[in-house]
Amino acid sequence: MRMTGGDAILRSLEAEGVEVIFGIPGGAIMPTYDAMARGTTVRHVLARHEQGAGHMAQGYARASGRVGVAIATSGPGATNLVTPIADAWMDSTPLVCITGQVRSPLIGTDAFQECDITGITLPIVKHSWLVQDVKELPATLKAAFHVARTGRCGPVLVDVPRDLQEAVFDFTYPETVDLPGWKPPVTVHPPQIREAARVIATARKPVLYVGGGTLNGDACDELLKLAEAGSLPVITTLMGKGAFPETHELHFGWPGMHGTKWANLGMNTCDVLVAIGARFDDRVTGKLSAFAPGATVVHLDVDPAEISKLRDADIPVVGPLKDALAALTEEIVRRRADGAPGPTQWLEQLAAWREEFPLRYGAAEGWLKPQRVLETLQRLTAGTDVIVTTGVGQHQMWAMQYVLSERPRSFITSGGLGTMGYGMPAAVGAKAARPEATVVCVDGDGCFQMTAQELTTAVLEDLPIVVVLVNNGYLGMVTQWQDMFYDGRRSHVHLTTDVPSYAKLAEAYGGVGLVVQSEAELEPALAEALASGRTVVVDCRVDPAEQCFPMIPAGAAALDMVEYSETVEAKAS
């Protein structure tokens, strides 16, 4: 069928089953937007900043399990996508970014709004294409979606010069991809599974260390079966949060820098550590040489390059986690039936540690405590279809600690890159993916101001979200580090709690603004916001002195954690 390159992009998206894309038009992508105006089944959500569009596409991908799509023009439009691309790279979020490029004859001449976006993004994409012939466009988009979602998920970029979007050609969407060099693992080695099962079934103190790869690999049902079949305790990382129901008796918290003490005790004193789609991030391990000493490491991952990257794996299992965990469960069931006992004493020990070292925070003393905000949110949303997104910082860690995720894809956050401003646009994207869910963005006041303009998108695109603003008037996590590690010298961290007025800002953007200044006001305000069906900002003015504990100082061994009740002394990080 004869059509322009711009129309071909939309027909390709339709052929991929794409329902929603997020973007902003501009000069070099105008022919494709013109094709949208002529008609498509794809919904376009108009963001107010390309970074917002990118994070929306990420939020969409993480909430739905499908590939997120962001579209932008050349030059500044494309560079504004760099942060979402880097974020998707670090957290393995499947993302296709389509950018306009200046006309082919102008490439390399420093033309208006020209930039080498394929060059700029080279280290942070799985692959990228600068399309050079309109006839290659369908196969390129087919390949882009295939690469983004196969193997370890991640971002790809397709850069399309404007003249190619205007060029007319005969469109057919290919059935297959032609990528001879792209061969992600598709099978699991049975001998490795048997060896892993032997070690796990006979372990006295096993721990399943579950990362975001479990969600990306759609292996959460298999994980639940494995844990239950083997009576194996599960500890989920920030990115793995939601992969296992956190209300389940076999869930034992979150590891790492602001993880719970019982989880870190479990991870670091286990005899068999089963890493499942996790990558031994420094925020999880603390000082690597002191991490889980003596533990036999079983590492399951679809990406062979993660095996033994940081911690040598004793038993590597490479392949799709869904298949790997299913096969592992069969073996574990057989071994348990043959009489290999479950780790009963170990589970009792973990439960005892949970009782002994619970999360704690101080009395209110006239202040609303941030932890109380998260606890109340948890209580009001427990058992409901809720998706929580976050920014990055103290509020994110409190959300990890106090919000219990019961279902996969119900907790969406920026882990690896730590992108402040991620939460709100990600919430808008998640709402587009799951309109029937209540979507709550737990945000800090610093984060919120980085992408606040996307409140407009939430309101005008009818994608209502509730922003629970943990407003302490500071860049809280930086402040905490300055207080703990820089002798309390506060350097450029004070934001103030009331400039801007977040409630008025919400109203200015067409939403609802609520202010919470006391514990008494908290629950009614949150309940009102959750029930409203509108975009609401709940500005919770919380104790600015509150710090986030437990904490493993950067570079310290995981068991040298600082707890809430102890005196916090300055310590070199």
């Binding site: 394929t118 060059g119 080279l122 280290p123 799985k126 692959h127 990228s128 600068l130 050079q132 690469v147 193997g151 990528l179 001879p180 060099g181 792209w182 693992p185 699991v188 080695h189 490795q192 990406d303 062979p304 390059a305 095996i307 033994s308 990257k309 590597p316 299992v317 490479v318 392949g319």
Partner: protein, 171 residues
């Protein structure tokens, strides 16, 4: 320890850049690099010389293997592969002293490429050690220009293990 990696890639725009970017980003140094076509149309071979530990080499290899344009990664193991490098040098040498230099070049299997009133251009191919020796030999005369290609190689025909060692296959 030094290692030679042979990376077979689709001849696509940016293929070399993706590999060198990966090295830079993950903090690995490239000692030498040579790129050229292979027996297959549309397929190029990139030969990289890297100085790193065995653990780093495995990381490098696995990271390269994930690149979409990369068809195959193999290490050319010393003793199981033939490796060669080409050196071209312009050496300033007066006519009276050219005889001894040309005899030495000849002895190493090198060739005279060009002759001028004040200098000659010589080429020698061989192992890195042979070229290092030739470099030293030329130095007293005065080297005006000297360039080397970086090494290329392929598995020995005579080796028992004909197939070069594959590092990628875990699991």
């Amino acid at each position: 320890m030094k290692h030679t990696l042979s990376v077979v890639v689709e001849d696509k725009p940016g293929a070399l850049g993706r590999i060198t970017t990966m090295f830079a980003r993950r903090g690995f140094n490239i000692d030498s690099l040579a790129v050229g076509p292979t027996e297959r149309p549309g397929v190029s071979c990139i030969t990289l010389r890297v100085d790193c530990s065995h653990h780093s080499l495995e990381q490098i290899e696995k990271q390269i293997h994930k690149l979409v344009n990369v068809l195959r990664v193999t290490e050319l193991v010393s003793g199981e592969a033939v490796e060669r490098e080409l050196l071209v040098a312009r050496v300033t040498v007066p006519p009276a002293r050219r005889g001894e230099l040309l005899r030495a070049t000849d002895a190493l299997g090198g060739r005279l490429l060009d002759v001028g009133p004040e200098a000659v251009v010589l080429e020698v191919s061989g192992t890195t050690e042979e070229l290092d020796a030739f470099h030293e030999l030329c130095r007293p005369y005065g080297i005006a220009d000297l360039v080397r290609t970086g090494r290329i190689g392929c598995p020995r025909a005579s080796a028992k293990r004909r197939a070069p060692r594959r590092l990628a296959a875990i699991g």
